[in-house]
């Protein structure tokens, strides 16, 4: 009985369900009555988001084998055969944690959106559509389909930014759409080029593309295009300037989604396409990724330090943390790449929690300027405690997830024999400066908001009430996995390590082949070949 049930569960189209269910349900929302304060809509959206989360958990438990490095939970339906477009979804180790992260953060974002009263029907409609859309981005196994989901997912984000947000929301939303949509032309071009490569009948399936033997020049062309497209999303300095604007104007729940999930699309895509499908070009460009990662870390940490606007400060800190993802991806070691994956999950949780707190604080102080705050901690003690906990998580305190992922990236990169010793020494030392800079800006921020004498003007004008249970609950939900991963990282790493090992093996082979065909300088050949198999 249970056996047949189990078999039935593993045949259930888990991924399609988790994509289509929230989107389908969203279309029920317009039929809700307009009057009232939108209570029904909120509860409806929350239950849909929770069910979606449960579906994704179900897919992980019932259909996903962590020891299998290949794509699982596959579903293939021919959609538009003339175009070579198939509805092809599936998940491997790189997709699965991010799918879970998406449905988890979205459910919390819905809870965080409880106070949204303005056009709440449309708001929750968009959030649910975004939920399905983002899961689709991580789950699709077809490059053309990936492009479509990537683009479609922009629409709800654009609207969420443009309708709800700060004073400059129109500017921010436009900037966001121009940057992302503009750069994603490169995805389309690369997809078409790769799909038509060497055949008459286009095929965009990842498995097909991965088996293709692209020439080096072709790979480099595609790689550069994709790097720009994904570099905007991640973001990579200097393509990052849309982010502080967009994040600076977004409302808290949207903010959580932007930082928690949207940025991860960039990192995921870099792994999926640049590192996995274009290994030869990756062997050429990986050092650039490392350098860009280091620049991200230091540059964004410094700008964050100088920022006087709380939201922008945290936005820049996100950019800084994404630098570790870049270093990890460029490291050619499973430890480093695994650290990059973990950093994405970890920052998804930590970033979401900090942005939620920014929103909650703004609800009370009605200002984001640090100069207008001071001594807030005396009235809002629990809020202070939550802020401290999340800031410590963000500055990579041991016992929390950020520390583990950064440590894995560092260790992976430093012990990696592919790079020359001086390069590793310089880059690791520069990246480690982030270890000093991060606490400087985060603790200064805490000091300016919560410590010191109370700002009399703020106390007089605003009612500073302490955190309510809903808010404590949201942060607790985020801190639990943050600490869980920090104490025992294998909770998460085990789910993707097989796929990452596979990916890194492939990239290392590319590096070694590059050595054999003398693309790499011949003199160092031996050193690379005797590198330990990572």
């Amino acid at each position: 009985m249970l056996g047949t049930l189990g078999a039935g569960l593993s045949n259930f189209p888990w991924l399609s369900a988790s994509i289509l269910f929230p989107i389908g349900s969203a279309f029920v929302i317009p039929f809700f009555p307009d009057k009232g304060d939108g209570k029904e809509v909120r509860w409806f959206a929350l239950s849909i988001a929770l069910i979606t989360f449960l579906i994704t958990v179900g897919s992980y438990i019932n259909g996903f084998d962590i020891n299998n490095e290949n794509v699982q939970l596959k579903e293939n339906i021919s959609w538009l055969p003339d175009l070579g477009l198939t509805w092809s979804v599936g998940a491997d180790g790189m997709s699965m944690p991010l799918i879970l992260l998406t449905s988890f953060i979205t459910a919390l974002a819905v809870l965080a959106a409880w106070p949204v009263k303005f056009k709440s029907k449309l708001f929750f409609f968009l959030i649910l559509v975004m939920d399905g859309g983002q899961i689709a981005v991580f789950a699709v196994q077809d490059m053309l389909l990936f492009f479509l989901t990537w683009e479609l997912e922009l629409i709800p984000v654009y609207l969420l930014l443009a309708i709800w947000g700060g004073k400059n929301r129109q500017y921010a939303a436009t900037k966001f759409i121009i940057y992302t949509a503009g750069s994603s032309i490169f995805i389309l071009l690369a997809a078409l080029a790769m799909g038509f490569y060497g055949t008459e009948i286009p095929n965009f399936e990842f498995s097909h593309l991965a088996a293709q033997d692209f020439s080096q020049k072709f790979q480099i062309l595609c790689y550069v295009g994709l790097l720009i497209a994904f570099g905007v999303k991640l973001p990579i300095v200097p393509l990052h300037t849309w982010l502080p604007d967009a994040h600076g104007e977004a409302t808290a729940p949207v903010h959580m989604l932007l930082a928690g999930i949207l940025l991860k699309m960039g990192g995921y895509a870099l792994l999926r396409f640049n590192a996995q499908l274009l290994p030869i070009a990756h062997a050429q460009f990986a050092p650039l990724l490392i350098v860009l990662g280091v620049v991200n870390i230091i540059y964004a940490a410094l700008t964050s330090f100088a920022q006087r606007n709380l939201k922008r400060k945290i936005a820049y800190s996100s950019i800084s943390h994404m630098g570790f993802v870049l270093i990890g991806i460029g490291s050619f070691s499973s430890l480093g790449t695994s650290g990059a994956m973990l950093q994405m999950v970890s920052h998804g949780l930590i970033g979401a929690s900090l942005f939620f707190l920014v929103g909650a604080t703004y609800d009370r102080t009605k200002t984001l300027k640090l100069d207008e705050m001071s001594g807030v901690g005396q009235k809002m003690r629990i809020m202070f405690a939550l802020w401290t906990a999340c800031s410590l998580a963000s500055l990579a305190l041991p016992g929390m997830s950020g520390f583990v992922s950064e440590l894995m990236v560092f260790t992976g990169f430093v012990t990696d024999e592919v790079y020359t010793l001086p390069f590793r020494v310089v880059m690791a030392s520069l990246a480690a400066i982030g270890v000093i800079l991060t606490p400087i800006y985060l603790l200064s921020m805490l000091r300016e908001i919560f410590f010191g004498k109370e700002n009399p003007k703020l106390i007089e004008e605003r009612k500073l009430i302490d955190a309510e249970p809903r808010e404590v609950y949201i942060i607790a939900c985020l801190l639990l996995p943050i600490i869980g991963i920090g104490l025992y990282p294998r909770l998460v790493t085990e789910s993707y390590i097989a796929s990452i090992n596979n990916l890194v093996d492939r990239d290392l082979t590319a590096v070694k082949n590059a050595v054999k065909t003398n693309i790499f300088s011949g003199a160092k050949t031996n050193e690379i070949l005797k590198a330990p198999t990572i």
């Binding site: 330090f305 100088a306 410590l392 583990v404 390069f423 000091r447």
Partner: protein, 673 residues
């Protein structure tokens, strides 16, 4: 019952459970838990108490020759890498655990009295439990990585505790400074750990030492790289144990409540650095040049701390610089290759320094009744004096502490300090001389503190002096403080919960030195039996006596000068010294200008740099990517920017320079074909 050594991992777990429980309580049922504060404090004290019992049992097992215990499990893995975690209990660890649990317990009992009227009572106890738990975890860590984990947690707890009174600006700045300065050290520590892992594929102390000596003799890694790694790792202890020039955070950390100062200065935090250096002795002993650097840093710190302490008027700051100086002695011992002596001094110092700090807390507690809750007034010795008659327990124990730290036999400090000086005499005679000089200074400034605080007449009622001090501290006085001023109390002895720890600590401060008699050192027998055997056999009274007499004489000289200057007031030091050598006096009272350098160079510098980068970001990067930059460049604004924005231009150059590094160090392949 299982052997305590086998279950040593429970020692940090118990206080952690307590801290988590009361922490959750604070978040969820804040009011209720604050109303039942005694239940929380008794509960947390019992949790630490259980840890203390296990620690002492483990210590006795180790003394009786039970084997060291080490247990590991795989914490993280990827590819062929595994990162193990676990616990280890060996003689060194058991000594430290016994020390930490004892001091923590006493500090907790003391805090019950000291923090009685504070609304953050429960929070304070929670932090204390967390702090002690992190420190215990650090001690049982079997490898460098796990040490790093707890190392950071200790730093975090000190951040929380130093910034405990978060409505005070000073506390906020001090807490941040403590964390950031420590992070500067951790920057080195982290890189060092990573580098050592790269070189030896291990995080384990002994394996690292073996691996490095192997690699150096095989020439697989160059000697300079090995030295650099050792030095980087040493940066961590330099910050944590407040060694020159990273000591700047420790005196500022006085902004925290006094029980915390006692805990930080005695058993946790600063002890962590010394402990790590002791753990890494197998590695450091391979390289004499690293040993020399450690000894040098220790000697400088030792002298610097004592010299600044000479002129301090703030009771707590005086003690803080004295800690800096004593930590220098410990580091000197490590550099001389005598970790046992260093740890011995750590233990004795922990006893009397905890007692001295708790005593100063007792004094401040009493002073606040008279001058109000204003640290500038309550801690200034110019307002004290004559407290001996009113506070018999506090003054008696403080006096014992002063004698102990000055190195007068047979109290504890004499034996441990002399052990260090003896070792320094053999290894680095020049450093021995500085150490000896410092011993004299130590005796002088400690008795200066004692005489100013407890002897003479009470000066606390002097309103004019109070006002002067307030103006000098540049605090803008608001009405609140004035009100507090008015409450007229009188000096009285502190409650039993505060005097009990003082009296309790006085006992080891007197007798614990006998654990390390040079001819029969019990502590050396425990920590390093072979070495102890050799030392005991080589002991000769002829060699011991001259050195011992020298240090006793110089200490007595210091005490006599202090007695003449501050008790009978026969000599006036400000005429005799301060006016004759104003530059030296200014140099000392400005703390060697190190705080100013720090402020100007690093704090302001980093702020300026950050601002410039932000400007580049919003004007150049954003503009160029938006393509609007091209337009502004053509317009007058763009020109103006490039005329005035030289600094920004440099920042751009730096930025480009980083990218240029690819070309220089790059991949194995310089070019794309």
């Amino acid at each position: 019952m299982p052997q305590a050594s086998e279950i040593a991992w429970l020692i940090p777990v118990f206080p952690l459970i307590g801290a988590v429980l009361s922490g959750l309580g604070l978040i969820s049922i804040n009011k209720k838990i604050n109303n039942s504060r005694e239940i929380v404090s008794v509960g947390l004290i019992s949790f630490v108490g259980v840890s203390a019992v296990i620690s002492y049992k483990a210590l006795f097992e180790q003394v009786n020759g039970y084997q060291s215990v080490e247990k590991l499990f795989v914490w993280a893995n990827a590819g062929d890498f595994t990162i193990p975690m676990g616990f280890v209990l060996d003689p060194l660890g058991s000594v430290m655990l016994a020390l930490v649990t004892t001091i923590t317990l006493l500090v907790m009992i003391y805090s019950h009295g000291y923090m009685a009227h504070d609304k953050g009572y429960v929070r304070f106890f929670t932090y204390l439990a967390l702090f002690s738990s992190s420190m215990m975890g650090l001690i049982v860590s079997p490898n460098l990585l796990e040490i790093y984990v707890f190392w950071e947690l200790v730093g975090m707890c000190s951040y929380l505790l130093v910034g405990f009174w978060y409505d005070r600006d000073g506390a906020a700045h001090a807490a941040q400074k403590a964390f950031v300065v420590n992070r500067v050290g951790d920057f080195g520590l982290l890189l060092g750990i990573l580098g050592l892992f790269w070189a030896t594929n291990s995080f384990d102390f002994n394996e690292i030492a073996k691996g490095i000596s192997q690699s150096v003799s095989d020439n697989t890694i160059p000697i300079w790289a090995a030295l650099l790694l050792c030095f980087l790792v040493f940066l961590g202890p330099m910050a944590k144990s407040a060694q020159f020039p990273l000591h700047v955070w420790l005196p500022d950390a006085m902004e925290g409540p006094t029980p915390i100062s006692a805990l930080i200065h005695a058993a946790t935090m600063v002890a962590a650095g010394i402990f790590l250096v002791a753990r890494l002795q197998p590695l450091y002993s391979i390289f004499p040049s690293i040993q020399f650097i450690i000894a040098l840093v220790g000697t400088i710190t030792c002298f610097l701390g004592a010299s600044i302490a000479l002129t301090q008027m703030d009771l707590k700051k005086g003690l803080a610089y004295s800690t800096v100086s004593q930590l220098g002695y410990m580091m000197l011992a490590m550099g001389c290759g005598a970790p046992v002596a260093g740890i011995f001094h750590l233990v004795t110092h922990a006893c009397f320094k905890a007692m001295l700090f708790l005593g100063s807390g007792s004094v401040i507690h009493a002073m606040e009744e008279v001058v109000g809750h204003q640290p500038v007034l309550a801690q200034d010795m110019r307002l004290m004096g004559g407290l001996r008659k009113k506070m018999p327990y506090t003054s008696a124990t403080f006096l014992i502490g002063c004698i102990a730290i000055s190195g007068i036999p047979p109290l504890a400090g004499f034996w441990s300090k002399d052990e260090i000086l003896g070792n320094a005499f053999i290894s680095f005679p020049a450093f021995w001389f500085v150490g000896l000089l410092t011993a004299g200074m130590t005796a002088f400034y400690m008795f200066r503190l004692y005489f100013l605080t407890f002897e003479g007449d009470f000066r606390g009622e002097n309103k004019e002096l109070q006002k002067e001090l307030l103006i000098a501290s540049k605090l803008n006085l608001d009405e609140e403080n004035e009100e507090e001023h008015e409450e007229h109390g009188s000096i009285h002895e502190s409650p039993w919960s505060m005097t009990f720890p003082l009296v309790f600590l006085a006992v080891p401060s007197i007798i614990i030195g006998f654990m390390g008699l040079p001819w029969d050192s019990k502590i050396a027998n425990l920590l390093d039996p072979e070495e102890a055997d050799i030392a005991a056999k080589a002991f000769e009274l002829k060699e011991f006596l001259p050195l011992a007499i020298a240090s006793v004489v110089i200490a007595s000289a210091g005490i006599i000068i202090a007695y003449q200057a501050y008790f009978v007031k026969k000599i006036n030091l400000s005429v005799l010294f301060a006016e004759k050598f104003p530059s030296i006096n200014r140099f000392l009272s400005n703390k060697w200008y190190l705080d100013d350098i720090n402020e100007k160079l690093f704090v302001k510098g980093s702020r300026k740099l950050a601002k410039e980068v932000l400007e580049v970001d919003s004007k150049v990067v954003d503009g160029v990517v938006n393509l609007t930059g091209l337009v502004t460049l053509g317009s007058g604004e763009g020109l103006k920017y490039f005329e005035t924005g030289r600094a920004q231009f440099y920042a751009l150059i730096v930025f480009g320079g980083v990218i240029l590094l690819v070309a220089i160090f790059g991949f194995q392949s310089p070019q794309v074909s």
